[in-house]
Every structure is written in structure tokens, then in C-alpha cells.
Amino acid sequence: MTIADVHKVPAWRAPLVVGLVLLTLATLTLVDSFRVTTGTGPGVGPSVAMKLIGGLLGVLGAAHLVTAWGKRGNRKGIDADDVLNPASLAWVLGGLVGQIAVLAAGGGFIAGATLLFVCTACGFGRRLLSLGPVIGLALSVAVYVFFTKALSLTLPSGPLERLLFG
């Protein structure tokens, strides 16, 4: 979904999307609730809350669809102050996805975090090859060292971490 979809849209679009998401979640919950078996003994089992919450999601989903229907024909004005910037958003999202990819490939925390830092900085108007990679790398190393050595937490390690810290 692009930013243009989010903002320059007829007013019914948002409630329709949310309504459909809610109805999907409601269906998932209710279907799954029939798979869960009810325990023996007094009281109720784990499926009752699923049915209640599934029902609530369903009612809210339906209410959203009604709202969407009521707004058909209306168009939502764009706020004059909002300069929408899909490129920035794409940079930041790209950085997040890139970090996941690096970690999934076993690249380690420092590489992933540096990539995220650089992409985000680009999204906020920095040039790719400026101070960004330097600051990003320094910050990622500092964070890695502080949290793994000083606080003995575990962060994903890759070739770079093994090279630097054994």
C-alpha cells in the first residue's frame, strides 16, 4: 500500500479496510475456537473467551462496514500541512525489511542494525554516503558491546561479531 492510498482516498476506504480486517480476525478466532476442546469439570474452557472476543470483533467489523456505507460519496480532504513523502517511508520500511533479511541470513546484529540506521537516515534526508554509515556502525557496535558484555544479554551474532569478539 502506498501513501497515496492512505491519504488521497474516499472517506469510506479506511473503515472498509478496517472492517474487513476485523471480520477476517473474527472468522479466524471463531473457527479456531471450535478446534479447541472444552475441558472437563465445572466452569468454562478456553474456547468461551475466543467466542466472546470473536463475537466482539465481528460486531465491530460490521459497525465499520455500516460506517463505510454511510460515508459513500464523501471524500476526505488532505491536510494542507501534510507534505506526504512516500520515498521516506519506503526507505525506513526498506531498512526494517533489510534488517530482518540480514538476521535471517545469519549476518548478525551489527550488520543488520547498521543497515537499518543508514536506510532510516537516508529516509530523513541524509545522503547515503555521508556520516550515516559511520555513526550507524559506531552505534551498533556500542549497543552490541554494552548489552552483551555489560548486561550479558544475547543478541544475534554473525561473522562480524565473531571476528571482533571471538
Binding site: G41, N85, G123
Partner: protein, 499 residues
Amino acid sequence: MEIFTLLADGIWTALQPGNLLFAGIGVLLGTLVGILPGISPSLTVALLLPVTFKLDPTGSIIMFAGIYFGSMYGSSTTAILINTPGEAASIATAIEGHKMARNGRGGPALATAAIGSFVAGTIATAGLAVLAPTIVELAVQFGPWDYFALMVVAFVTVSATFGHSVLRGLTSLALGLFLGLVGIDKLTGQARLAFGVPALMDGISITTLAVGLFAMGEALYVACRFKEHAEQIEPVRGSLWMTLKDWQASWKAWLRGTLLGFPIGALPAGGAEVPTLLSYSLERKLSKDPAEFGNGAIAGVAGPEAANNASATGTLVPLLALGLPTSATAAMMLAGFQQYGLVPGPLLFTTNPEMVWGLIASFFVGNLMLLVLNLPLVGLWVKLLAIPQSWLYAGILVFASMGTLAANPSVVELTMLVVFGIAGFLMRCWDYPVAPMIVGLILGPMAEGQFRRALQVSLGDYLVFFKHPFSATLIAIAVFALVAPFVFKGLHRFKGDDE
């Protein structure tokens, strides 16, 4: 008076050098992160949760309290100096405080905010120390039906009563409740909504959800509206000290703000924005010179800041005495307790009295430290405001992913974080409050536990919730609170951005 001996023990605990150090670090870290533009106190607490993972419970919770108070102070500093309130509760401060800063009275504005927060925090902590044990004594007699009804009241007030729209508030709550279902049912060991994915069996982590919705959502939202311009920071000019006239205008406003903030915070009545805005309009009404309001009236900073701090302390009454979080920040505090397997509520007062009272006492200490550390350091804090957005948000995202990975080093967890971030972004674009979702996730499973216990006792009779007068009354209140916004449209005058 038993309270006083317990409190004295607590102060002794809080004054141990180690705990004092934790309180100090907490206050400094909280201010450091809370002062960054666009970061609310609840996000500060969520981001800093991993820092406390490996400390001992008492020290960690004490540090947490410091973070909490520090972040609120930082948020008001940002509001005064660059007019970007980190949360709805700082809006009133931003109106008057920023005007004061532009008139060259930034020093007194910061001072009245800090001293007002100290006064309000101290009085409210005293209120907490008196009120919480009383509620605990009552709560010992509560049955599971009473707890369930209390939680229903909290659900309604958090999501429906004070937001922009009941439908959007309830939707956010329902999404949180849905996420709360995911994972293994504690009573029967059956997996719900996990679809065979091992990472989902443990359930959704509250920290991941909070950091995703707040930090990632905020970063994406700011990115999509990014345009290159520098924030206008008002330099702190002139004296830091308040004049005699400032003191005269401030002290009554502090007390009035405290009196408004504490009860509204202690009742689950929808966060700090209501008392701060009430305090703001009250001060304007009582002012001899109403024309001053809107042009930098010091009482318009003093009152709302006191109300904000008092109400934040007030939300700790239901949190500590009943285990009931009624704001996003309180939900994060509860998550902090839970990582040590501690369950706030009546039981904690008997099993870990030294911890509870150490915590309450450390609020006094934390407030004092805030005053002693922060006013002299104001020059340093102002420099933080000058960090460019690019480094700021890049750093926030690195720190956010670090926190999630430190809690659970898995790619699935990180993916969930990003998914929640996109959800938070869309919710912000479409004006859905995020706080009810977080409260729903943490309170939903607790409510379900009480619900099932009640039905176990009643042998499956659903009328049990209406047969006991207390729970019946509470459910009536919840229904009323759900319907009231439709009846009294006037309430919508108090609406603010949900945070």
C-alpha cells in the same frame, strides 16, 4: 500506625546506596530519552525495559519508577522549548510554556514545571501510601467476579469514554484482546490461534507490541510526513529562577492541579489528558488576568504539570493495589513486574512488602532527585533537542530492534515488531488510539482468568456477576460509561490525542 513503620522501612530500602544509584540512573535515562521530541513516557518505559532485564527485582523496579518520572519531566521540557508535546497530557504545557520561552521566560517555565512536578509527585505519593493499603484491605474480600467487573470498567474507560470515537477505541481494545488470546492457554495447555507456529505458542510479548506500535509507528508516521526543516528551539534566556510573583502565581496552581490529577488518575478514568486540560481551564477561570492565558501564563504551566504528575502517580494506586493497569505507561510498568514473575495486587503487599514499600518510598526519592539533577542540567538537556531527526529516528529504530532481539533473539519476533509498527502507523494515519490495544493485550488474559475462576466457583452460572452487589454495580458503571459519551456530547470537549 502501621503504614508509617512500613514506609520508614521502605525509605530505608530506597536509601540503600545501590538502590539510590538505580533511582538516579533511572531518572537520568528517563529524562534523556523522554526529552527526545515525539517520544512519550510510555515509549520511554518500553524502550528502556531491556536495560533492566538483568538487575535484581527491587533495584530494577526502582529504576523503572525513576525512568517513569524522568520521562514525564523530559516530555514537558520538550513541550516548553520546541512546542512538540510528546503526549496529549503535555498540550497545555506546550501552549503556555512555549509562549513563556519565546518571551524569554523559559527558565521560570522549566522551574515551575519541575517544582510543580515535585510538589504534586510528593503529595500524590503520600496519597498512594495511604490509599493503596486501604484498597488492599478491601480487595482481600474481592471475589473473582469483582475483579472481572473491575477489569471490564477499566476496558471501557480506557477505550471508549475519553477518546475521539467509541468505535475506534473499542476496535483498538478488541485487537489487543485478540492478541491476548494467542498462545498456550495457561489452564488447559491448549494452543489458541497459534496455527502451529512455535514462536506464537508463548503468546505476544507486550514489549514487542508497545515498541512496535509506539516507536516504529511513530517513526514511520514522521517519515511519511517528513519535510526538511529544522525544529525551532527556543534558547533558555534570562534567569532560571522564579520571581516572588512567579511563586505566588504557581503554588496554588500546583496544589489545585494535584487535587484534580490524583483522584482522576487513581480512578480508572482515562489517563492524564483529562485532569491536565481541566486544570488548565480551571486556572484560566480563576486567574485575575485571563488575558495572560495564551500569552505565557505561568499558572497555565504550573497547574497542568502538577496535574499530569499527580495523575501519573494516581494510576499507580489501581496498579499496585489491584494489579489493574489503566494507562499505556501503567501497562508497561506491569510488564516490568511480570518479567520477574511478580504480580502486583493485594498479594504482593503481603509477600513482598519490602519491595512494594521500597518502590513507594523511591517515588519520593526519585522526585527529589529529579529536582536536584534536572534543573542544573537543563543546558545539557537542551543540547539533546538539537539532534537532527535523521540520527534521532535511526537511533530509535536501532534501539527498538535491539530491545526486541534482547528479549527474544529470533527473526520471527523482529518480524512481529515490524508488523506491529505498520499497524501502529496505519492506526495513527486513521486516528485509532493505540493505548487501548496495549491495555487489552495485558489485561485481557487476566480478565479471562478471573472470568473462568468466577464461573468455576458458580458452577457455570453466568448470573454470578450480577448476584454480588459490588460486581453488579461495577458492570452497571461500565455500561453507563460506554453509553455516556453518546448522551453527554459535551465530554468531547476534553478529547485529546490518545497516547
